[in-house]
């Protein structure tokens, strides 16, 4: 199926490329000015158009991606400091503050919560699987 042109197709593609660039390179020190230059004629317009589509400025979006990736690392048991630097933050206090602002919990509280949840799943996996499915597979004998 070939691509059909639609209004502002080339602008959309450039904005989407910028967003995907952030998605891929969030862990590196990103120069958003350079991305704006690549994507658009003026930084002001880039930020405005980006925000109209993604409801966040490029900078806010970058923070959001980093916090989300950190959350996933914490989910898998990564220590807080390691998660912080792995996703591209350069300061532990600012990471903790941003993480708490986005998720409502500090990174260490979140880590502890996830460890606890994992332990409970490991102990009793059937608790998390609806009875109808388990029953139809014969795991639960009535």
């Amino acid at each position: 199926m070939s691509s059909q042109a639609y209004p502002r197709m080339y602008l959309y593609r450039r904005l989407v490329q910028a967003k995907l660039f952030i998605d891929m390179h969030y862990a590196e020190p990103i120069d958003l000015d350079a991305i704006a230059d690549e994507a658009y004629f003026s930084k002001f317009h880039f930020i405005k158009q980006f925000k109209s589509i993604y409801h966040r400025t490029p900078h806010q979006y970058l923070i959001h991606v980093r916090v989300e990736k950190a959350r996933q690392l914490l989910n898998s048991g990564t220590p807080v400091t390691d998660a912080c630097y792995a996703v591209g933050f350069e300061s532990l206090p600012s990471f903790s503050g941003l993480f708490k602002r986005v998720t409502g919990m500090s990174p260490s509280a979140y880590l502890a919560q996830q460890q606890d949840l994992k332990a409970r799943v490991a102990e009793a996996p059937l608790t998390f699987i609806p009875g109808c499915f388990a029953h139809s597979r014969g795991w639960i004998k009535k």
């Binding site: 199926m1 639609y6 197709m9 989407v16 993604y54 996996p125 699987i129 597979r137």
Partner: protein, 134 residues
């Protein structure tokens, strides 16, 4: 009385590939991913705006579906199942991003009376309507 639908099912041919498709390409979040031994995984995902909903990515296995399993796999591959209508705020941005990630569209965004709609397939063959409603 019945108040909500909280879970729905999509039959998938390979849970690992489906995981990559739904999580990495569509951007769904993983709600539960628990091992079930021979049966595969209890793997459920949800779009980011619906954390209380679960789409169960059910593997078509011989142990679960017995004699029906081959026929079911064939039906899935042929695109028999339209699983859901998905909505987004900006269909062109979503379309471009999904295309850039390798999602196969069978219909490009097209104006309909209810909004603008595109159709894509998952890695198993299930299809979805993607719409930006008026």
């Amino acid at each position: 009385m019945i108040t909500r639908i909280t879970h729905a099912v999509a039959y998938v041919l390979d849970q690992e590939r489906a995981f990559d498709f739904y999580v990495n390409k569509l951007g769904f979040t993983v709600v539960t991913d628990a091992p079930m031994g021979d049966e595969g995984r209890w793997l459920t995902v949800a779009p980011q705006g619906m954390p209380d909903f679960e789409l169960i990515l059910t593997p078509v296995t011989r142990s679960m579906f017995k004699e029906t399993s081959e026929a079911l796999k064939d039906l899935v591959r042929k695109g028999t199942f339209g699983v859901a209508v998905l909505t987004c705020d900006d269909i062109f941005a979503t379309y471009e991003e999904l295309k850039a990630k390798g999602v196969e569209f069978t219909k490009a965004p097209t104006k309909e009376f209810y909004g603008t709609e595109a159709i894509f397939k998952d890695d198993s063959g299930n299809w979805f309507s993607l719409a930006q409603l008026k």
